[in-house]
């Protein structure tokens, strides 16, 4: 039975308001990226390819680089932990917090933390955990889920946010002026920063040679979160390693431009380790939790290129399907093209349930074109479609192809079918009781069949040129 895909159904049912927010937000992201990248780099492809090769090299020697990073971090007084599953990562973080007697913390934006649903887990276990990134803070207030890697609230507009602030008592009255919203969040968050005993962050990059963490934000929230606390925990996917500090020159230049169309984000932090004896403040204890959570499985698969991803969201911004459906349609932490590849394989046990995600693409390739690490996303989507087919997982909308293969490998049958297709010109096909055909023809006309006409012409054609 041929039906429509879940993501199409989702897109059909989202509100115009939400869809408009997603479309305008993502289109603006695509335009800014294009302008900034092309202004500064006459040949942006060259730097994308360089970044891809650095990532591939690192992934190829990941074990070595992780060991090197661990050694460098330990020598700087950092406690290094390895978590192989999401549960391990949550428990590791909880026990670190309990060990330091932490009951209240602030957290800057981290997709790794989203991936393991860290917030609700810590709250359940009695740790007050406040998101300090403005977008994530609003998500937390609303009990919502982020719908974009970089702009978690791309699906919301300022009126909704103003209503949330009023409802949650962050502000006394309704005011949807963006600057006022931000000021109000700032007043609220500043107090929370001062009360916190620990800060949790992710890391955009970890340099294997020195163990230095690079962390970028536009709000300075991760930096602010570090200032008053005694404990810093960084949760890092193992694919975030880069070989050397000097590689940051490539990646930082690409990340800001690709993500938000900025040459560099407003804050770029380099974290060396815990506070040293001659530093006036900063966390005395620093922990880095390296998380696998399915990454080594991805590394062993035929889609390992997706681990190059530096989480810029450029593929989401440019993707026409993402724009229509929003990130929530992808039913997992990662939406859009990167999510359509990553989610079904990173959360391996969910593959059957998420096997339809790789189909949510016209294979237009815009995602590959904008990717700062040149991930061949359409190829990976195709490999996953093959994987699903081999596993006999047929999403609701699978169109059986074996009959077509018979036709397309039988030339005389094919020619007959072409000639006969002309009969369709005289049939009212739009009333044929086939739902997808009706849907298709409801929006579009089909041209008249000229089946076989070219073959006839070619047979009688006198070449104007004789070799």
């Amino acid at each position: 039975m041929i039906g429509t895909q879940l993501i199409d159904d989702y897109a059909r049912n989202i509100s115009d308001e939400k869809q408009q927010s997603v479309i305008s937000g993502s289109a603006a992201g695509t335009n800014k990226r294009y302008q900034v990248l092309h202004k500064d780099y006459p040949d942006p492809d060259a730097i994308r390819k360089l970044a891809a090769s650095i990532k591939d090299h690192t992934l190829h020697h990941l074990g070595d680089y992780l060991a090197k990073a661990e050694q460098a971090l330990v020598s700087r007084g950092v406690n290094v932990h390895f978590a192989s599953t999401d549960e391990d990562a949550r428990q590791t973080i909880l026990s670190i917090l309990q060990g330091h007697g932490v009951t209240q913390l602030t957290k800057s934006k981290s997709m790794a933390a989203e991936e393991i649903h860290l917030n609700p887990f810590l709250i359940e276990n009695g740790v007050e955990c406040l998101e300090s990134d403005l977008g994530e803070f609003i998500i937390q207030l609303d009990g919502d889920e982020p719908s974009h890697i970089v702009k978690p609230i791309i699906h919301k507009n300022r009126r909704e946010i103003a209503r949330t602030f009023q409802r949650e008592g962050i502000a006394a009255d309704y005011n949807d002026d963006p600057e006022t919203i931000t000021r109000r969040a700032r007043v609220y968050l500043r107090e929370k920063y001062m009360q916190a005993q620990a800060g949790i962050t992710g890391a955009n990059f970890v340099c294997a040679d020195t163990g230095r963490l690079a962390l970028i934000t536009n709000e300075g929230n991760s930096r602010f979160g570090m200032a008053p606390v005694g404990v810093h925990i960084a949760l890092v996917g193992i694919e975030k390693i880069i070989p050397q500090e000097k590689d940051l020159a490539v990646f930082l230049n690409l990340l800001g431009r690709s993500a938000t169309g900025q040459q560099l984000t407003v804050y770029t932090e380099f974290i060396n380790g815990p506070k040293s004896a001659n530093q006036p403040d900063g966390p005395e204890h620093m922990h880095v939790v390296f998380m696998d959570n399915g990454r080594t499985d991805v590394l062993a698969s035929n889609c390992k290129e997706i681990l190059r991803c530096i989480r810029c969201g450029a593929c989401q911004n440019v993707c026409p399907v993402y724009r229509q459906a929003s990130g929530h349609a992808y039913r997992s932490t990662y939406g859009g093209p990167v999510g359509a590849v990553l989610s079904p394989i990173l959360f391996g046990s969910r593959f059957p349930e998420l096997a339809d995600l790789p189909k949510a693409s016209s294979l237009c390739g815009a995602c590959n074109e904008v990717c700062p690490v040149d991930i061949p996303i359409p190829d990976l989507l195709l490999r996953l479609r093959d994987k699903a087919h081999r596993a006999h997982i047929h999403s609701p909308a699978a169109i059986p192809m074996s009959p077509f293969a018979v036709l397309a490998t039988s030339p005389s049958l094919w020619r007959t079918a072409m000639t006969m297709s002309k009969a369709m010109n005289h049939l009212p096909i739009q009333v044929a009781p086939i739902k997808p055909l009706q849907d298709w023809l409801g929006q579009r006309t089909l041209p008249d069949s000229h089946g076989g006409d070219f073959r006839k012409w070619m047979k009688n054609h006198k070449p104007t040129h004789k070799p």
Partner: protein, 250 residues
């Protein structure tokens, strides 16, 4: 979607007509023959050709699409260039096929990949024809939709340059050119809502510049866009770039 670096040139070529031209767009295939002959190329059309296999390939049914690819490779066996009036079917030959045979490479498939040219790429980058001696009777605004499967190939520049060299032609850029028309073959059937919305956005952008003619290199995109436009009562005149080359010849 990078196409092979060095592909053979020859005064004789094989035409892969594509199933869409076989079924609907005979004039596009005719124009391909006529333009190539005008340039001194002899064109042969192997009778047993069918489809490149892309519908099955994109659906994930690779056993089915490999069968079709093997059939196509045998129909186009030899060492002559294979010329295709479609960026999408050409990319199936030189990219998709290599992907679906990556675990068990097949010399016939690799050979087909290395000999396949999208027709405008062949004329411009293969034959070295950099200007077109054509003429429109009056000033004509052209909207050129490059088509997604020509990303990273020589086709886009080829078409833009050749069209712009035609007397009285103006190639007018439109917004969000990187966006897909929403067709994607079976995608438009299983994602009818998203596909339609994508197509309408594309149409809006194209019609904004009020073109006299919409030019493409894939009849599939043009079929989708014109089918939507027709239903909405805003029909748009559309032609394959190869038809424009033929029609503007003196």
């Amino acid at each position: 979607m990078a196409n092979p670096i060095a592909r053979p040139l020859n005064k004789r070529v094989l035409l892969m007509g594509t199933c869409l031209c076989d079924a609907f767009y005979d004039d596009t295939a005719k124009a391909t023959v006529e333009v190539l002959e005008h340039l001194g190329i002899a064109v042969e059309f192997p009778e047993n050709q069918t489809c490149c296999g892309q519908p099955a390939f994109n659906s994930g049914d690779w056993p089915a699409s490999r069968k079709i690819a093997r059939h196509t490779a045998s129909v186009f066996a030899g060492d002559l260039p294979v010329i295709v009036p479609s960026g999408s079917c050409a990319a199936m030959n030189f990219h998709g096929n290599l992907l679906q045979f990556e675990e068990n490479p097949d010399p016939a498939i690799t050979s087909l990949a290395n000999r396949t040219w999208e027709v405008m790429d062949f004329i411009y980058n293969g034959l070295g024809v950099k200007t077109w001696p054509g003429k429109f009777d009056k000033p004509t605004r052209l909207a050129f939709h490059r088509s997604c499967h020509a990303r990273g190939t020589g086709t886009g520049e080829a078409v833009r340059t050749l069209l712009a060299s035609i007397e009285n032609a103006e190639v007018v850029p439109f917004g969000e050119a990187e966006q897909c028309c929403g067709f994607g073959g079976t995608f438009s059937v299983t994602f009818p809502h998203i596909s339609g919305r994508m197509g309408n956005l594309k149409l809006d952008r194209i019609l904004e510049i009020q073109p006299d003619l919409l030019v493409g290199i894939d009849m599939s995109c043009l079929m989708h866009l014109s089918g939507l436009a027709q239903t909405q009562g805003r029909p748009v005149k559309h032609l394959h770039a190869i038809q424009v080359l033929r029609d503007t010849l003196p």
